[in-house]
């Protein structure tokens, strides 16, 4: 038993840290730290910096232009990035579509799409969820009907994160409705500029238009844009979901969030002393920190298992569950820590609130925004209820 990182991994960590110190613009990290929305340009700027270094796609093999990192290296990179408040790498092209194309895409698709993901020509978004489906993903209703060399796509996708910036969307569509729900689904790449596509932003309760509805009205999609085989899309989707779940624990985000919380609690005064010295607050904070210490080790244990070639089972669901509980607990304590400032509603997108600068330090406004926005953590990526079902099934098999 040896809980320390190998000398190689420690050196890698130092390299990442140095790189972030040198190349991450303070302009960007400041916005991330304060939970402010990044513009499209800002996200692309950071992608560009990483791509120049060859570090944009840590999870891709070198042959496809990726960094070919080990699971431990990816973990280190994600953790350091979070601690440095680097913008999050958009998962849609890099973490989701990339691995699917690499495993199931045609050579043409790989050669065309993969480089464009890296060099920023394409901004992908995800067309999985539908208004009627929710956690029951396989019940999707968007149809793709073959018409010569094209599919005609009709239907609606929702919860499409940052879809307002995207020029491409990968979609699960129904190509056969006479078979079992999972067996009639195909995986299609769709040009967002094609006629018949409408994007409508959905404003979330903290006031940001982070997600969208995407409507398809007789959209013609070349058959060449089908990934793999028709009606096998469910297999690819499940493969994608497995890949999406690296960094599911969010250890880096939690660690950075805890550090921010402590900064606020040191600055806030409660009954004449720093809030962090209040015994009750300190106890609530310590409970979360102790939970995070354990969860972070669970995360590393899973990575070590993956490195040893073992397929993670219910453990990744446990990481999702505990990881989101910890992050939401940190958000909740941060909301409490800012005291009366939590009353302010610093919305940039809602009518009537546009021109108001929020009161208090910038961290206060970020605190409530993060608290509200991160309610999503337990809903998306397979809701925590879905995860509980997976964990129980792995144990009970009932």
């Amino acid at each position: 038993m040896d809980m320390s990182f190998s000398p190689e991994d420690q050196a890698f960590r130092a390299e990442v840290r140095q790189f972030l110190r040198d190349r991450l613009p303070a302009r960007l990290s400041e916005k991330v730290r304060l939970h402010q929305e990044l513009t499209k340009d800002e996200i692309e700027e950071w992608h560009g910096v990483l791509n120049e270094k060859g570090w944009l796609a840590g999870n891709w093999p070198v042959e496809f232009g990726g960094a070919g990192w080990t699971a431990i290296q990816r973990h280190i990179f994600e953790e350091e990035s979070a601690l440095a408040h680097a913008p999050r790498i958009l998962p849609f092209g890099i973490a989701m579509l990339g691995p699917v194309l690499q495993k199931f895409g045609s050579k043409e698709q790989q050669e065309h799409y993969l480089p464009r993901i890296l060099n920023g020509q394409d901004w992908w978004c995800q067309g999985y969820s539908e208004p009627g489906a929710g956690s029951d993903l396989a019940s999707l209703k968007t149809t793709a009907v073959r018409d010569g060399d094209h599919y005609i796509v009709n239907g609606q996708k929702t919860w499409t994160t940052l879809g307002q910036h995207a020029n491409w969307i990968f979609c699960l569509v129904r190509t056969n409705s006479t078979v079992k729900a999972q067996e009639g689904i195909s995986f299609l790449l769709i040009d967002m500029t094609a006629p018949g596509i409408t994007v409508r932003p959905i404003v979330l309760l903290e006031g940001t238009p982070e997600v969208n509805e995407v409507f398809f009205d007789d959209v013609r999609v070349p058959v060449a844009n089908l990934v793999g085989e028709e009606n096998k899309g469910w297999t690819y989707a499940k493969y994608l979901l497995t890949h999406e779940r690296t960094n599911i624990a969010g250890v880096g985000f939690a660690t950075a969030g805890l550090a921010a919380l402590k900064r606020i609690a040191r600055a806030q005064v409660a009954n004449g002393r720093p809030l962090i010295e209040n015994p009750l607050f300190a106890a609530r904070l310590a409970e979360v920190e102790i939970d995070l210490m354990a969860m972070s080790t669970t995360n590393l244990r899973m990575l070590a298992q993956a490195a040893a070639g073992q397929v993670p089972g219910a453990e990744s669901s446990m990481l999702k569950l505990k990881g989101t509980q910890i992050r939401q607990a940190i958000n909740d304590l941060t909301r409490r820590a800012v005291g009366p400032w939590a009353l302010a509603f610093p919305s940039e997108a809602l009518e009537g609130a546009n021109d108001d600068a929020p009161p208090g330090p910038a961290e206060a406004a970020g605190a409530t925004r993060a608290y509200l926005n991160n309610r999503k953590l337990s809903i998306y990526g397979g809701s925590n209820e879905i995860q509980r079902g997976i964990i129980a099934k792995s144990l009970l098999g009932l």
Binding site: A267, V269, R284, G339, P340, L343, T368, Y380
Partner: protein
């Protein structure tokens, strides 16, 4: 023992609900007597008991109404009446004047520590998160040596407004050698603040009841995996826990309403605000979770309810602040 309301209180609640449903403005509420219902007879009103406050604010909470009744009447007029400022108190209760009460200061949380000070009859200082300040005709300001009245036209008074989680607005207020008149000691705050905390808790109760109704409807109609979500046992058990906590909050609100003039008022204030704050957040988080994604969208009715519950906890001291107050008051 009687946990019910008088006929008058019930009627006021019903007509208030109807008026709010029609989308009435503040003046319609004042015309209805909602302000006077919150004041005692000796203060020129016809109510002012815990039960009156409970009835009015629970109704406002259910309706999601944004009104000056809490800040300008329960708190503002309440302080003024106790301070012997009968005319201004009545003006506030009738809607003719608007009062905002400036308690907190930047970074000082809920403990009442203030730095704003008077020199002669001039006030200088900074007040933070003052609800209703922009629309106010007068501010009541907590300074080091007591409570002061400031007219909002006064020189040296500056405000920067912003939106609040409960749908209203507040301002950061700066006073610089601003003309003011001392109206009394900070102890004047005690009873009106207790009443205002009851009002916030009753409002939150109404919001929670509404959130539970919305969630119930959603769980009964929305289907997943071929059946209503509400037929899943795990969801049912969570709803049962939720209802049980809301029932706790209901009783806590009743406890404070029934003991607003009791000798152990402060113990009830702390107990109720602590419990209601905790349950309010739980209800906000859990009703969102039970809805899934739709519960997070601004276009669905739940979002403003969740934000209002968040505001209820943050107003006048959060659940932990009042838990510590409860310990202190119980030990005393």
């Amino acid at each position: 023992m009687d946990f019910g309301f008088t006929e008058e209180q019930t009627m006021l609640g019903e007509s208030l609900a109807r008026t709010l449903e029609r989308g009435a403005d503040d003046s319609a509420l004042f015309d209805l007597g909602a302000g006077a219902a919150l004041m005692t007879e000796e203060a020129g009103g016809f109510g002012g008991s815990g039960a009156d406050i409970l009835m009015v604010f629970r109704t406002l909470g259910r309706a999601g109404a944004v009104t000056p009744l809490l800040d300008s009447v329960v708190l503002g007029a309440g302080i003024l009446a106790d301070a012997g400022e009968a005319d201004l108190a009545e003006a506030a209760a009738s809607g003719a004047a608007r009062i905002a009460v400036a308690l907190d200061e930047p970074g000082q949380r809920y403990d009442g520590t203030v730095a704003t000070r008077a020199e002669g009859d001039r006030l200088t200082g900074e007040k933070s998160v003052v609800p209703g300040a922009e629309d106010a005709t007068h501010l009541i300001v907590r300074a080091t040596d007591g409570l002061w009245l400031v007219e909002t036209g006064a020189e040296g008074l500056a405000m920067r407004g912003y939106a609040l989680m409960d749908g209203g607005r507040a301002a950061e207020v700066t006073l610089k050698d601003t003309a003011a008149r001392r109206i009394g000691d900070v102890s004047l705050l005690e009873q009106p603040l207790a009443a205002a905390i009851l009002a916030v808790c009753a409002d939150a109760l109404g919001v929670m009841e509404k959130a539970v109704e919305l969630t119930t409807d959603y769980l009964k109609t929305r289907k997943q995996f071929g059946r209503p979500i509400g037929s899943f046992q795990a969801v049912q058990h969570r709803m049962a826990d939720l209802l049980t906590e809301v029932e706790q909050a209901r009783s806590a609100v009743w406890n404070l309403a029934g003991n607003l003039d009791a000798p152990d008022r402060d113990r009830h204030v702390a107990a109720t605000k602590s419990l209601v704050g905790r349950v309010a957040l739980y209800v906000a988080e859990e009703t969102i979770q039970l809805h899934g994604g739709i519960g997070m969208t601004e276009e669905y009715e739940l979002a403003p309810l969740a934000r209002r519950l968040l505001a209820a906890d943050a107003r006048f001291g959060d659940s932990d602040h009042h838990l510590e107050r409860f310990i202190a008051v119980s030990a005393a």
